[in-house]
């Protein structure tokens, strides 16, 4: 990865200049869907080699945040820098160079259904290195597939493999170009406990040995605390809690504690009248 390009004061974030270590800088990001503020003024930085875990209830905007970070959507307000380039302002052409450096694992896997698993992994390699002989591409594909234990399924179409296998194949594809920056949306959902541990170890290895920076969205608390070097807890589009795993565990807010322990949000209701009131709302 290149050192951040010198930028003029005007293009620097308000919270201070981008250091050589800052891979991602997010400033005041707001995303609005149909008048609803799904992301409401987020600010954070991700340092090189870090594994940032993003957590939060279902529908709180984790995937949406990820889509802003990888430039699939433009936030209504705010700015995002990756490796010192402000992606919220880059042209399509310039963005391609940034994108080459990152791998994305989508929540649904997003494998190409018309291609086999092997071709899915080979696609980014073939497209970005068109002069590689087929042999080399084959070996690279086998290496990536063996990382996720999918070598013997390379000839199958995505429709012929299970949900967890799709996730693993998609991870192999995300790693195809040896990215320096890895974005994962619920990588462990649908995997069995052994595979979860394997994924965690793979992520840790990538980050420790190859200096990969990872942003991982997850619901899996065990996994989150195992891999995360820093955590962000989202709630209603805002950052609820942020810190190292230890800081999150010791967070004073009882809501945060409840979330990470997986306790139900409210006590079981005794009162039948208030229950009816609740579900029938104003129509009553």
């Amino acid at each position: 990865m290149t050192a951040p390009a010198p930028t003029s004061a005007e293009t620097q974030p308000k919270s201070g200049p981008i250091g050589a270590d800052d891979v991602i800088v997010v400033e005041d990001v707001v995303k609005i869907y149909d008048g609803r503020r799904v992301l409401d003024g987020l600010n954070f930085r991700v340092k090189r080699g870090e594994i940032l875990v993003i957590m939060g209830g279902s529908g709180c905007g984790k995937s949406t945040l990820l889509r802003q970070l990888i430039g699939l959507q433009q936030p209504e307000q705010g700015r995002i820098w990756i490796d010192g380039s402000e992606i919220t302002r880059l042209t399509e052409e310039a963005f391609i160079n940034v994108r080459r450096r990152f791998g994305v694992l989508f929540q649904s896997g997003a494998l190409f259904n018309s291609m086999t698993v092997g071709d899915n992994v080979a696609l980014p390699i073939r497209e970005h290195y068109p002069n590689q002989p087929d042999m080399t591409v084959d070996i690279m594909v086998k290496m990536k597939l063996s990382l996720v234990g999918m070598t013997q399924f390379a000839h199958l179409k995505p429709a012929e493999i299970s949900g967890g296998m799709k996730k693993r194949a998609a991870l192999a594809r995300a790693l195809a170009l040896d990215p320096k920056l890895l974005f994962c949306d619920e990588p462990t959902a649908g995997l069995d406990p052994t595979r979860v541990t394997e994924f965690d170890e793979l992520t840790l290895k990538l980050c420790r040995e190859l200096g990969v920076t990872a942003v991982v969205v997850t619901h899996d608390m065990t996994s989150a605390f195992r891999i995360g070097t820093r955590m962000i807890l989202l709630n209603k589009g805002k950052i609820w809690a942020v810190g190292t795993p230890d800081e999150i565990r010791a967070h004073p807010d009882p809501g945060v504690k409840r979330f990470i322990n997986g306790d139900p949000e409210s006590e079981v209701r005794q009162d039948a009248d208030s229950y009816l009131q609740d579900i029938l709302g104003e129509s009553q």
Partner: protein, 256 residues
């Protein structure tokens, strides 16, 4: 009503944007070192051209039969039964051939393209392409559009022959005409302008159908239901646009 109108103009502007993007990736970027995806193009040409051939043949053959019978009815009264061939040829070449072929393409291939791209959109496959630094327009739309633009006139020409053959069958079997005479008369009456106006039309229709199909595939949202909705919209819009465009082009060729 104003909401529908704004929506309509939104569709038109984003369609134009996609269309200009397609033109750029098809004709400008190959000169900037972005190679055309030739394999994909040939695959699409097979899917669109070869697989539609039978339907186009069938439809145009029946059209030839119908046209011959309809015109015979009138021409018999003025003693011009030998003109049936020429009339069928001209009508099919100038008008019915390009239009019917395009409608078949809209129903058969346009719908398939919208459904395919729409499913890819819903499954985040298009997003995945983009994050890999691969432009979906270059990767998916250009081969489909070029494939249809190339195959539409080819199918039209073959279909025209099929219709003329249908007309010949009627003339020989029921109107006591000589087959050789039929073909001779047909080619005699066919003018060069008929041929090129027909070809221009079918290229225009192919462009319209493929671009509309890709556009409606790209804008799908809301899961499987959205794919179905968009596919219907794509076919309906294509057919309306084919006929509207036909009207404009016919007027153009009529007045020059």
């Amino acid at each position: 009503m104003p909401i529908t109108l704004t929506r309509f103009f939104q569709h038109v502007t984003s369609w134009c944007w996609l269309f200009s993007n397609t033109l750029y990736w098809a004709f400008v970027s190959p000169f900037h070192g972005k190679k055309m995806r030739v394999n994909d193009l040939f695959r699409q040409m097979t899917l669109i051209g070869v697989r539609s051939l039978l339907i186009v043949f069938l439809v145009m053959f029946f059209m030839g039969l119908v046209l011959a019978m309809q015109s015979a009815d009138t021409l018999e009264k003025v003693g011009g039964l030998s003109m049936v061939g020429g009339l069928v040829a001209a009508a099919v070449m100038r008008e019915i051939g390009p239009m019917l072929t395009a409608i078949v393409l809209a129903g058969r291939c346009g719908a398939a393209i919208t459904a395919e791209l729409g499913t890819m959109r819903v499954a985040e496959e298009l997003d995945a392409l983009e994050t890999m630094g691969l432009n979906p327009v270059h990767f998916l739309i250009v081969p489909r559009v070029l494939g249809m633009v190339i195959m539409a006139p080819c199918l039209t020409i073959l279909g025209v022959f099929m219709a003329m053959y249908g007309g010949c069958l009627i003339s020989v079997l029921f109107l006591d005409q000589d087959a050789f005479h039929y073909w001779q008369k047909s080619f005699e009456m066919l003018k060069l302008k008929d041929v090129y106006s027909g070809m221009i039309k079918s290229v225009a229709f192919g462009t319209l159908v493929s671009n509309i199909a890709c556009y409606f595939g790209f804008i799908v949202e809301g899961g499987a239901e959205g794919v179905g909705k968009s596919t219907t919209q794509s076919v309906v819009t294509s057919i309306v646009m084919i006929i509207a465009c036909d009207c404009v082009l016919t007027a153009f060729f009529y007045f020059i």
